[in-house]
């Protein structure tokens, strides 16, 4: 006699493309938190300055940019103090670039753990996005310090408008953009390492197309028409618009970025989900 049997799980090869077990992520939420903690704690162990290094990096990049792009190349900063202009661009850009490059090698750099124990693989990229968010928060603090300095010295007229509410939205979209692109790249690098090289210099080039070192308003014609479809450029401009009051912003372009991010993320999660099952055999 065969008793009716309930199975809590069935492991089989042809899971449907859309069989994404997001509820598992919830069960492993503690792991996400611990990974974030690990990333953050382990990096600054045995350093004297510790998280202060997070200040030093954007500070010196900003100084370099001011010297090269403002003093030497004489690029416009839309009437904003160059330090504020570059620092806000750099802070946003760094967050995106870090999210993208760190998540893009999820599979290759975690092969050791992934090969020995199962947990939803998405835990890793998500924890990277979050630990970078903390890093971003600290650098954002630096930006606010610089901001208050210029306001205090009357070198910059602050604009407190309802648009400030856009900042969290911009940050969230930037995170999703980095995550979506990152997991797509990570899915391909498991088998073909070429993608890692492509990404490495692609990110470098993308910075020049993302309105970090110049305002979008200083471009025109074909270049402007191309750049206004770059979601990173739009997000950075929107960020500057809401924080500093100067920048390219329209609801149409923001909606475009939202749609772009959602599609990218859905596609990314689907590809990631498909690859995670067998990546151990190809990594």
């Amino acid at each position: 006699m065969i008793e009716k049997q309930d199975w809590t799980e069935v492991i089989s090869p042809k899971r449907s493309l859309f069989d994404v077990k997001l509820h598992e992520l919830w069960h492993y939420r503690d792991l996400i938190v611990l990974f974030v903690k690990r990333d953050f704690v382990s990096i600054y162990k045995q350093t004297i300055l510790g998280p202060l290094w997070l200040f030093i990096q954007p500070l010196f990049t900003t100084i370099t940019f001011v010297l090269i792009f403002n003093r030497i190349a004489r690029l416009s900063t839309d009437g904003i103090p160059p330090i504020l202009f570059y620092m806000s661009g750099i802070t946003m850009w760094t967050y995106f670039a870090d999210c993208l490059t760190k998540t893009s090698n999820t599979f290759t750099s975690n092969a050791g753990i992934f090969g020995k124990v199962y947990f939803p693989r998405l835990v890793t990229p998500i924890s990277i996005i979050i630990s970078n968010l903390i890093k971003f928060g600290i650098q954002f603090l630096l930006l606010l310090i610089a901001y208050s300095y210029f306001v205090f010295n009357k070198e910059f007229e602050p604009v407190f408008s309802v648009w400030l509410l856009l900042i969290p939205v911009v940050i969230l979209l930037m995170a999703l953009l980095g995550l979506g692109l990152g997991i797509i790249f990570s899915s391909f690098t498991t088998k073909y390492r070429d993608m890692a090289f492509l990404l490495q210099f692609g990110v470098q080039l993308l910075m020049y197309g993302s309105a970090v070192i110049y305002p979008l308003s200083s471009t025109s014609g074909v270049i402007f028409n191309i750049l206004k479809y770059n979601p990173v450029a739009i997000l950075i401009e929107t960020f500057k618009f809401s924080l500093l009051g100067v920048g390219y912003f329209s609801f149409a372009s923001l909606s475009y970025v939202i749609v772009f991010c959602v599609i990218l993320l859905v596609v990314g999660v689907l590809i990631f989900n498909k690859v995670e099952k067998t990546f151990m055999d190809t990594v």
Binding site: M1, E3, E9, V10, L31, F35, R38, K116, Y118, T278
Partner: protein, 433 residues
């Protein structure tokens, strides 16, 4: 009827050999093209089995082929097989580290796998931080770890170093801490791969003890892979035997170990030399047959530690011999010569031509667990001649079924020594008045 915990049906796993290069891309495209037209994957047609010594010329190989078995709830199933038999691949598929190529695995209950101790330990983090991290990786929630934290630290015995980064730990401490976390997992199904191979005897003892504890007292299902037959026979009630990616047989651990030893070693429990010319011996005496027998003269390979083991050998005396002496040597798996015995009492006995059967008995509760090899001999003293000494072909295995009556008692750990006689202990309290 008891419920099933795991049901594996027609499971296949294919691996690609060689390097991943441009050829891989071409194959991927070809595969995709076949799939797009609704045809079968051209590379799945390869039916080569996994034998690593012979090159079949194909780039693909089946590491698992048509695996079917069931595990009852609360059962401890052993998986036995040589290196490369597919044991680890099977465990990887069961623990969802990698997906199967075909077939399915149905699981009932929360699964935790222990394919390695200390997965995800970060050298820069302290012992405390790593307990939380490792626990979470193995699927525990923060609350669960918090509840068991003291127990884990106690078990590991590294209290003093708990707030020191684990990179400062000795390798022993590292393993102890790692295993302590794993030992406190509370899954319904635990998958364990050869983790006992690391660590000292004490650690192995703790491991086996803990696992036995968990399965008998808490009714959890365990899947256990090991090359250590002693551990398997102590822990597992049922086992499956894998060879070249296939399950050759399944049954009680006794049967399966017997079969495994029979198939994977050159040792047998009986030999018959049918051709008198090539049989060991000289023109005076020839060896005809050797068998391992139990008290009922039944030939077998696997003996319980508390039954007597007989070596029965048949020889033919071709010419009358005055002072024939039969001899017997016993070796263990590591080629340690355990003992030697001769029928000295019969010395000088005259043997007329004919066939003789000689049986030498080793008492119960005398030998230790594991494989043993025998040598049987016949010789004469005047002049000293060895008529035959047939060594290394015949052997037997001894297992302790933990009846509680053996020397081992209820102890499950590693038991040292080359023999394990049941000795008398007299312990009396000294009366001081």
């Amino acid at each position: 009827m008891s419920k099933l915990a795991i049901k594996v049906e027609g499971l296949y796993k294919q691996y690609r050999l060689g390097l991943v290069g441009t050829g891989t891309l071409a194959q991927d495209l070809n595969r995709w093209w076949h799939m797009a037209r609704g045809k079968e994957d051209p590379y799945e047609l390869v039916t080569e089995s996994n034998d690593r010594t012979s090159d079949g010329g194909s780039d693909y190989v089946w590491a698992l082929q048509d695996i079917n078995f069931e595990v009852q709830k609360g059962e401890v199933l052993g998986v036995i097989g040589k290196n490369g038999a597919g044991k680890s691949t099977l465990l990887k598929v069961l623990s969802k580290v990698t997906g199967p190529s075909k077939g399915s695995v149905k699981v009932n209950g929360r699964v935790a796998s222990l394919l390695e101790v200390g997965t995800g330990f970060h050298p820069e983090l302290t012992g405390r931080e790593n307990i939380y991290l490792n626990g979470a990786i193995l699927g525990m929630t923060r609350g669960e770890i918090k509840r068991k934290f003291d127990e884990i630290v106690d078990f590991s015995g590294v209290q003093k170093y708990i707030d020191t980064p684990v990179k400062r730990y000795s390798s022993g401490m590292y393993v102890r801490l790692a295993f302590a976390v794993a030992a406190h997992l509370e899954p319904e199904i635990l998958i364990v791969d050869e983790v006992l191979a690391v660590g000292d005897a004490e650690f192995q003892k703790k491991c086996i003890g803990k696992m036995k504890d968990v399965s008998t007292n808490e009714g959890r299902t365990i899947l256990f892979v090991s090359h250590n037959m002693d551990a398997i026979s102590r822990l597992c009630t049922r086992s499956i035997y894998m060879k070249q990616g296939q399950v050759i047989s399944a049954g009680t651990t006794d049967e399966i170990i017997q079969q495994y030893i029979g198939a994977e070693t050159t040792i047998t429990s009986n030999i018959a030399y049918e051709n008198l010319v090539t049989a060991p011996g000289n023109e005076q005496v020839k060896l005809l047959k050797v068998e391992m027998v139990d008290g009922y003269y039944t030939n077998k390979l696997n003996f319980k530690i508390d039954e007597q083991v007989g070596v029965k050998f048949t020889f033919q005396v071709l010419r009358e011999t005055d002072d024939l002496v039969c001899g017997f040597n016993l070796y263990n798996q590591l080629d340690v010569h355990i003992l030697s015995s001769h029928d000295i009492l019969n010395k000088g006995k005259k043997y007329k031509p004919g066939i003789y059967i000689s049986t030498v008995w080793m008492p119960q509760n005398f030998l230790t667990e594991g494989l043993h090899y025998c040598g049987v001999a016949a010789m004469s003293y005047k002049p000293f001649t060895v008529h035959f000494h047939d060594v290394g072909r015949i052997g037997f295995n001894i297992a302790d079924k933990q009846s509680g009556e053996t020397v081992r008692g209820d102890y499950t750990g590693v038991f040292p020594g080359v023999v394990r006689p049941k000795l008398n202990w007299d312990i009396i309290k000294e009366e001081n008045d």
